[in-house]
């Protein structure tokens, strides 16, 4: 197109406007924050520029006559198994800019998804299945350190637990909304997550962006995060939540810090993060006070001291090659919860190369970490949580059978409120009003509606988990935890089966 560099014309999407149905109402023009749709004064009708379309489908969803279809650009380069259009377009972009490629959301690359190679068991004849609609089915989960043994004492009122149990997070469903900072997503969604978590009896995680003063009232259902930038961290913040999480790594970008662009830092984000309006908020790659397990231990206990040992402390790492050894160190350093974030985890912004090439599948890391902690006899010292790419209740239940205590969900939560994974979160122009703080865009998320949708999602998954548990003849999530006999692999080789600790289907 005229006035555009050649490479920009290799656009990913084309906008198909059915002129039979288009009424030039301009709903698409107002909805598109990338200005792909516009009012053409010369032609006196709505027109579009395909090169600006990011494929978010907002226009398609709101078009009142249904005249819009966003399609993949059918223009094909010559087939080449090595040089796929993705790689060529990366190079064109870098030829234009000389910069690092940026991406939003989790890795879309075609790498193994082990959830899909695991099948669940079901009861037949010899052990009856349970109908969760007729019989109790326990999904409640407690996260935190469990004692090595419990002592019970006799009292005139009956037996009483003598052992002091450490602080726990009580979850009515084995799911939590994972860390998405206030700034990377806006206040309306933070409020929606807080409302939904409260209604559901679960928790949400603030991410590294502090906690807005108006959300302190949801503290009992909040995990406050402490990450390398220490944004928004102060005594009241630490004491506001039901737990504290130290974020060491993120699945989408292991080894990399964070960078919230200045455009996303408005007045409220600035106050909450304690950084100036419009300035970039950069979280360093490492915590500058953690260079060893001993340093981590000091931070864990500093946080426990600050909160007078009232709340559990969690440590989140990206799933990487030596995850089991690292996790063991974390547990021995005093963490009550260990979070493993897999390479499919979402992000507001990550260098594309890192997102798509660093880290390992969380399924493998989970199985190995669970094994290692059990082998060392310290599995009960900490709860194990997995994050990164949990798409459905079956993924959740498989994670629990592999050894997780609970699952963090975030991408699925965003999809529930409209996200279409267009992956342009880093532009701050999210047309769905999610990853944006622009006044005009953020109000597209009405917290009441968003909270309802999040609540619906978790309840729906809860029902499905109950059905699947019942099918296996189990009546509580506790009976499934680490029960890998309920899993069988399909299409996996022996090494994979060995790592996952499951038998092949048929065995």
């Amino acid at each position: 197109m005229l006035f555009k560099p050649i490479s920009q014309n290799f656009n990913d999407f084309v906008i198909d406007r059915d002129k039979e149905r288009c009424i030039n109402c301009e709903v698409c023009v107002r909805q598109c924050s990338y200005e792909a749709h516009f009012w053409d004064d010369a032609r006196q009708c709505v027109m579009h520029d395909n090169t600006k379309c990011v494929g978010c489908h907002r226009c398609e969803a709101l078009c009142p006559t249904g005249c819009l279809t966003i399609k993949k650009n059918p223009a094909d380069f010559r087939d080449n198994a090595l040089w796929t259009p993705t790689y060529m377009k990366h190079i064109y972009k870098q030829g234009d800019t000389g910069g690092i490629l940026l991406s939003g959301m989790g890795s879309p690359s075609a790498k193994p998804i082990y959830w899909d190679n695991l099948q669940l068991d079901a009861s037949q004849v010899t052990n009856p299945s349970i109908d969760p609609l007729r019989e109790p089915m326990e999904l409640r989960t407690y996260l935190g350190s469990k004692p090595d043994k419990v002592e019970v004492e006799e009292t005139p009122e009956g037996p009483r637990l003598k052992t002091k149990i450490g602080p726990q997070i009580k979850l009515e469903y084995p799911m939590m909304f994972s860390a998405m900072s206030f700034g990377s997503i806006n206040f309306n969604l933070h409020k929606a997550m807080a409302m939904a978590a409260t209604e559901l009896g679960i928790v949400y995680n603030t991410g590294e962006g502090g906690l807005h003063p108006t959300l302190y009232k949801y503290g009992a259902n909040t995990i406050v995060q402490v990450a390398s930038g220490r944004f928004g961290v102060h005594k009241d913040y630490l004491n506001a939540g039901a737990a504290i999480e130290i974020k060491v790594g993120q699945g989408a970008k292991p080894g990399i810090g964070g960078h919230l662009p200045g455009e996303k830092i408005d007045e409220e984000v600035s106050k909450t993060r304690m950084v100036p309006v419009g300035s970039d908020a950069i979280s360093p790659a490492p915590h500058h006070d953690i260079y060893s397990i001993e340093d981590l231990l000091q931070l864990i206990y500093a946080l426990k001291e600050a909160t007078e040992y009232r709340v559990p402390v969690s440590v989140k790492i990206a799933a990487v090659h030596n995850a089991p050894a690292i996790a063991s160190g974390i547990v021995r350093a005093g963490a009550d919860i260990v979070v493993l974030d897999g390479f499919r985890g979402g992000t507001g912004a990550a260098p594309t190369m890192i997102r798509d090439n660093v880290g390992i599948p969380v399924e493998l890391a989970l199985a190995q970490v669970d094994n290692r902690l059990r082998d060392e006899g310290i599995r009960n010292w900490a709860s194990l949580v997995v994050a990164g790419g949990t798409r459905c209740s079956a993924d959740v239940i498989k994670a629990i059978a592999l050894g997780a205590d609970a699952v963090y969900i975030a991408t699925s939560a965003l999809v529930a409120v409209g996200c279409t994974l267009c992956g342009r979160c880093y532009t701050g122009k999210c047309p769905w009003g999610i990853a944006t703080n622009e006044a005009r865009l953020k109000k597209r998320q009405n917290p009441e509606i968003a909270a309802k949708r999040l609540t619906n999602l978790v309840k729906a998954w809860g029902h499905e988990i109950q059905e699947m548990l019942g099918g296996m003849g189990l009546n509580s999530i506790e009976s499934l935890r680490g029960n890998r006999d309920k899993l069988r692999g399909i299409g996996l080789n022996e090494v994979e089966l060995d790592i996952l600790g499951v038998k092949h289907a048929g065995r």
Binding site: C25, E26, Q31, L62, P64, A439, R440, N446
Partner: protein
């Protein structure tokens, strides 16, 4: 009485309420025909979205307790329904003097240019829920008794 209340915090300025209103008040009850054909013969939405900077809000007749339009109406076309509380409009009596347009403090009355008569929200007579409220994608309009 139940009225349509806009919520400017969550009005996204999409103008879909206007299109829903237009469709609900059209002969064809079809958005495409309403816009392409019926609009040419004077059909207009009773609603209008006003915008200033990032703030936008969708306005229509407030069905005021003491409506100035009724006081201003010279022909008795506008009147207050004692039973429902609605500010009603009898098109057959309207003479197109536009007194009500000038009297309305909300600018909620519009002109039908071909008929020479006014257009005003009737809270979607015959529908359970006004079309604008039903169509709003962000629940920025509510129909309730406050």
């Amino acid at each position: 009485m139940r009225r349509v209340y806009p919520n400017k915090d969550f009005c996204i300025g999409c103008h879909i309420c206007e299109l829903a209103c237009l469709t609900a008040h059209s002969e064809s009850k079809d958005l495409i025909i309403a816009v392409r054909e019926e609009q040419a013969s004077g059909l207009r939405p009773c609603k209008a979205v006003y915008e200033k900077g990032p703030v936008c809000v969708s306005l229509s007749c407030r069905h005021c307790e003491n409506p100035t339009c009724v006081t201003a109406c010279i022909s008795g076309a506008l009147y207050k329904d004692e039973e429902t509380g609605k500010t009603k409009y009898d098109e057959s009596k309207c003479v197109g003097c536009w007194s009500c347009l000038m009297a309305c403090p909300f600018g909620a009355i519009r002109r039908n240019p071909s008929k020479g008569k006014i257009i005003k929200c009737d809270l979607c007579e015959g529908r359970d829920m006004p079309a604008c409220v039903q169509a709003c994608p962000n629940a920025a309009l509510s129909y309730e008794d406050r």
